[in-house]
């Protein structure tokens, strides 16, 4: 036997031994790279492929494992979404596994709710508490009193959760996620008759026009589009793609733009229509594209009558000349590409504003062409209005019509209080949290059944943005679970089995892993009849199924019945005189919506725009701040019609004078030592503007006022507020 073979066998036995901990002793861990011929050095690290589910982008990862411990996470070069690259967050999920404050075993509440007093219990006890509650609902024939709240799940886990709830007999599976692209699906359905998410060919475009789409930070797939952006700039010999950004705050993404257009909040849609009207009136449109989409230039022009240059300039606060210039550049630099993002969609008139941006693409022929936008290859269907589902659930909870809430995630931190969710949840008699850390939701729970960390879990991850084909990332437990935790889907399945009857019959699997294999089998060969075992090993080794060939689906075409998008005048919550400033909340580069806050690497990472560490802050235009007597780092109070917050001020040159901005992500009550009690959660300030059709998820439509409190903001920045103190470094 060659030395190398011997060592490999040894390694595999060891791998088998680790995995028995998660009830899959027959599985071996398949290393990503076969070590080179001169032998495996004992102790030399091996790489295992898995997937990142921190955000829905779903990048492929390789985990370096040495002596059974995960050491570092790198991008999987074979994964079509991220091609070996990763964002800061994806690399930091390593610290999720070894976080010093993980919940090591199930907990039962022993003090009053929210007191944080828990008694450790065994899994047997924990599961019987849960099944006991569910049996009561079954016995009383009130199974609809069960609620399940999760993020927007994909693949096998989505299937499992749906099956669990349907078989149990409850329609209340809520998949609300503030940053989920429901708004984009809805807009696509209204304009194009299909709700699939788009794929933008940024690398191939010559003129990129982003309306509040922060694709380098969090929008859809930041690593995928970051990679494309690098190529758009410097990947072609003779073309350097141009980038214009529209939005009242200069985001990290906007900082890379050639031109920044700080349009007044809520006027972005009007700006898009103003550009459209100009393109029409100067005959710069693509006639073939309009014809193919069943649109007539004369009718369109008539529809956009009100969006003449002077009026649009007045609405947006931008100069006529700049608007006209950008419209002309956009129309005459093919292929160009317009994108709409969260910062527009979260305005009160966001739904129509997003469609106005889509119209620009139709007008100059950017649909279904290289350098333009295609229907993507990601998950075909998904919620289009989970916000409405959330509100309906809140109503039921308030009316004491929910008995048990199973919660995966931290909605008490991530759902704005203006929805009434926190009080409503308080009325639910039995709350179960699956959080691996005692986060804000777990602190209110009656039972905590801690989930594995991502690197200890099985799963499939379907990326949000993929050019075409089928891309499914596979998660495998690359390390033995550190604590006495169990995977969330495994717990649901065990519960179903214990409940017996139809519930047990709905899950004829030994384990979640087996169910996962079944899904992959279906994906690989719908007709069946393949040797799954061999293929499975290959899939695990390479990190999933990456079929990127094949035809694209049906392209986008403007629906015949689709109305011309006409965003109404934006409405805001809060009276302009009492609350003179607009508030923008935006996902933090490091923490996303807050799920990254417990990880010390991310806390220590200086925020790219402000270099603030370990804190939150409010960004204020220098002129506005001077008017209010506010200096850099001062403690200020931000008050909205809904509440107030105290946090330090950052004087931010890249923001409109009538706008202030606060990053999401901090202000956790719990979530371990690195996050708890740190910074502020801006979601508490949000109020929803009045609306005839019921509340809209208009998260950027709150007005506030700001007042200085003291000099003691306690703000720490890694860099000098003005830039480097060695100012000579600037030669750029």
């Amino acid at each position: 036997m060659k030395r190398r073979t011997f060592l490999q066998l040894g390694g595999m036995t060891a791998a088998g031994a680790w995995l028995s901990g998660c009830r899959s002793a027959n599985e071996k861990l398949i290393p990503y790279l076969v070590p080179p011929d001169e032998g495996v050095t004992p102790g030399r690290a091996e790489y295992f492929a898995s997937a990142c589910r921190f955000c829905p982008a779903g990048c492929g990862i390789l985990v370096r494992v040495s002596e059974g411990r995960a050491k570092k996470i790198e991008g999987n070069p074979d994964h079509p979404v991220n091609r070996g690259k990763l964002c800061a967050r994806g690399q930091a999920i390593l610290q999720e596994v070894y976080h010093p404050d993980r919940v090591p075993q199930p907990l039962r509440r022993s003090g009053p709710r929210g007191s944080g007093k828990f008694t450790p219990i065994s899994w047997g006890e924990g599961l019987s508490l849960l099944t006991g509650q569910l049996r009561t609902l079954q016995r009383e024939r009130t199974t609809e009193r069960l609620a399940l709240m999760t993020p927007q799940l994909q693949g096998t886990l989505a299937d499992l959760a749906a099956r669990f709830m349907a078989t149990f007999g409850s329609p209340h599976h809520i998949r609300f996620d503030l940053l989920a692209p429901d708004w984009l699906r809805a807009a696509n359905r209204r304009s194009f008759g299909q709700a699939s998410l788009p794929w933008y060919d940024i690398a191939g475009t010559r003129y990129l026009l982003s309306f509040g789409a922060d694709f380098l930070e969090y929008h859809l797939s930041p690593v995928h589009y970051g990679f494309a952006f690098g190529r758009m700039r410097q990947g072609r010999d003779t073309v350097r793609g141009h980038f214009t950004y529209v939005g009242g705050r200069m985001s990290l993404t906007a900082a890379s733009a050639d031109r920044w257009m700080p349009a007044r909040p809520g006027s972005e849609g009007a700006l898009a229509l103003g550009m459209a009207r100009l393109i029409l009136s100067e005959s710069l449109y693509d006639a073939a594209s309009l014809a193919a989409n069943g649109l007539r230039p004369d009718r369109l022009s008539a529809g956009l009558e009100g969006y003449d240059l002077p009026r649009v300039a007045q609405l947006t606060g931008l100069s006529q000349q700049v608007i006209a210039e950008v419209a002309r550049e956009f129309a005459t630099t093919p292929p160009s590409l317009a994108m709409a993002g969260e910062m527009v969609a979260f305005q009160e008139n966001g739904a129509e504003a997003v469609r106005a941006v889509q119209l620009l693409n139709v007008l100059v022929g950017n649909l279904n062409r290289p350098g333009g936008v295609y229907p993507g290859g990601g998950p075909v269907a998904g919620p289009e209005n989970s916000f409405a589902d959330l509100l309906a659930l809140v109503e039921k909870m308030r009316g004491d019509r929910m008995g048990v809430a199973l919660i995966h995630g931290d909605p008490l931190h991530a759902i704005p209080q203006t929805t009434g969710f926190p009080e409503a949840l308080g009325r639910v008699p039995f709350i179960v949290s699956f959080s691996p850390l005692l986060d804000d939701t777990a602190l209110q729970a009656d039972l905590v059944l801690p989930d594995h960390a991502a690197l200890e879990s099985w799963g499939d991850v379907i990326p949000l943005a993929a050019p075409r084909g089928t891309v499914i990332g596979l998660m495998q437990p690359v390390v033995t679970p550190l604590h006495d935790t169990r995977q969330f889907p495994e717990v649901l399945m065990t519960t179903a089995r214990e409940l017996g009857g139809g519930m047990a019959a709905a899950f004829p699997y030994q384990s979640y892993q087996e169910m996962l294999k079944e899904t992959m089998k279906r994906e690989l060969h719908p007709a069946g009849g393949i040797d799954l075992e061999t293929v499975w090993v290959d899939l695990l080794r390479q990190g999933g199924l990456f079929k990127t060939e094949g035809k694209r689906g049906k392209g986008y075409r403007w629906r015949a019945e689709a109305p011309i998008p006409l965003p109404a005048e934006p409405r805001f919550a809060g009276d302009e005189r009492r609350f003179p400033l607009h508030l923008q909340v935006y996902p933090s580069t490091a923490f996303y919506d807050g799920r990254g806050a417990p990880l010390p690497w991310l806390q220590q990472l200086p925020d790219p725009m402000t270099t603030v560490v370990w804190d939150s802050w409010v960004e204020i235009n220098p002129g506005t701040a001077a008017g209010l007597g506010i200096g850099f780092g001062d403690l200020v109070e931000v008050t909205s019609p809904r509440g107030s917050l105290r946090l330090p001020a950052v004087i931010y040159p890249g923001i409109r004078p009538d706008l202030v901005a606060i990053p999401m992500g901090q202000g956790h009550r719990g979530m371990g030592r690195y996050a708890a009690g740190r910074g502020a959660n801006p979601l508490v300030l949000l109020a929803l503007p009045p609306s005839e059709t019921g509340p809209l998820p208009a998260w950027n439509a709150t007005r506030v006022r700001v007042a200085r409190i003291s000099k003691e903001g306690g703000l720490v920045t890694a860099g000098n507020p003005e830039g480097s103190y060695r100012g000579e470094l600037i030669e750029i």
Binding site: P36, E67, A70, K71, K72, I73, E74, G84, K85, L86, A88, Q91, A92, L94, Q95, Y98, H99, P100, L216, P222, V223, G226, F227, F229, G230, Q234, R240, T244, M250, L252, A255, S256, D258, R259, W260, P262, T589, A590, P600, W601, L602, Q604, P606, P608, M609, V613, W614, P622, G623, P653, G654, V716, A718, G719, G723, S724, E728, L729, I730, I732
Partner: protein, 237 residues
């Protein structure tokens, strides 16, 4: 110019037209090199331990304002001001053009740090902790530095060594792109390119010939091995 005794002269190109300032490289470096976790107080004292930082500059005023990012790491100068001032030769130059730091030689005079015009050397003023079980994340390839020791970017020398072993075993030189430091490996926009400047066909050598090229504080005559490419366009901001 001294004689080149090694077939390698490692260098890096930072394309500022690609860099988005996202900070992925900062975390990659910290993870790869067992860089300490620093709390707010330590950073407030100006004692952050990051080997790689992203400088952010505001240029101009609202609305004609722009933000610029500049990743700054050890420039691996050919004429490194940090080297001659070290009384114990902890800061040294290796034949591949790397500016190295021998941790167990360092006695903590901090002369090197004071003499570095790029402020990329970081000193362990404190003894750093990884609360259990966080210490499991520490890489066994890298020494954990103790209090009183100076440290800095090494271009991930452990990766270069390993690549040399692999290539040496096959009786060849390291191929272009075969080895990259953690920062370049993860950079989503491919702003960071690492390679052998002594090989005129390497990607980094080709990029260095770009007319957009410049180096930081070139007038000091330190001859850094890190080259920057100017951000293009952005004429309207």
């Amino acid at each position: 110019m001294e004689k080149q005794t090694s077939p390698y002269r490692w260098g890096m190109v930072v394309d500022l037209d690609r860099c988005s300032g996202c900070g992925a490289c900062v975390v990659a470096c910290q993870a790869e090199n067992n860089v300490a976790i620093c709390g707010k107080k330590e950073i407030a004292e100006g004692r952050n331990m990051h080997w790689l930082r992203i400088e952010r500059f505001w240029v101009g005023e609202y609305p004609n304002v722009r933000a610029r990012f500049l990743p700054v790491l050890c420039q691996h100068c050919r004429d490194a001001p940090c080297e001659p001032v070290c009384p114990v030769y902890a800061s040294y130059h290796n034949p591949d053009g790397l500016n190295g730091q021998v941790y167990n030689r360092c006695v903590g005079t901090r002369y090197c740090g004071n003499n570095c015009p790029y402020a990329v050397r970081v000193f362990n003023f404190y003894s750093h902790q990884w609360p259990k079980p966080l210490e499991n994340q520490l890489s066994p390839d890298i020494t954990v530095r103790t209090r009183g020791v100076m440290e800095k970017c090494t271009f991930c020398i452990q990766r270069i060594r390993r690549a040399k072993e692999d290539a040496g075993g096959e009786g060849r030189l390291i191929r272009d792109g075969e080895v990259q430091p953690a920062c370049a490996q993860t950079c989503p926009t491919e702003a960071l390119v690492f390679g052998n400047l002594a090989d005129p066909r390497s990607r980094v050598a080709r990029l260095v010939r770009s007319p957009r090229r410049f180096r930081l504080l070139e007038h000091l005559g330190t001859h850094p091995s890190v080259y920057y490419l100017k951000g293009g366009g952005r004429e309207h901001v």
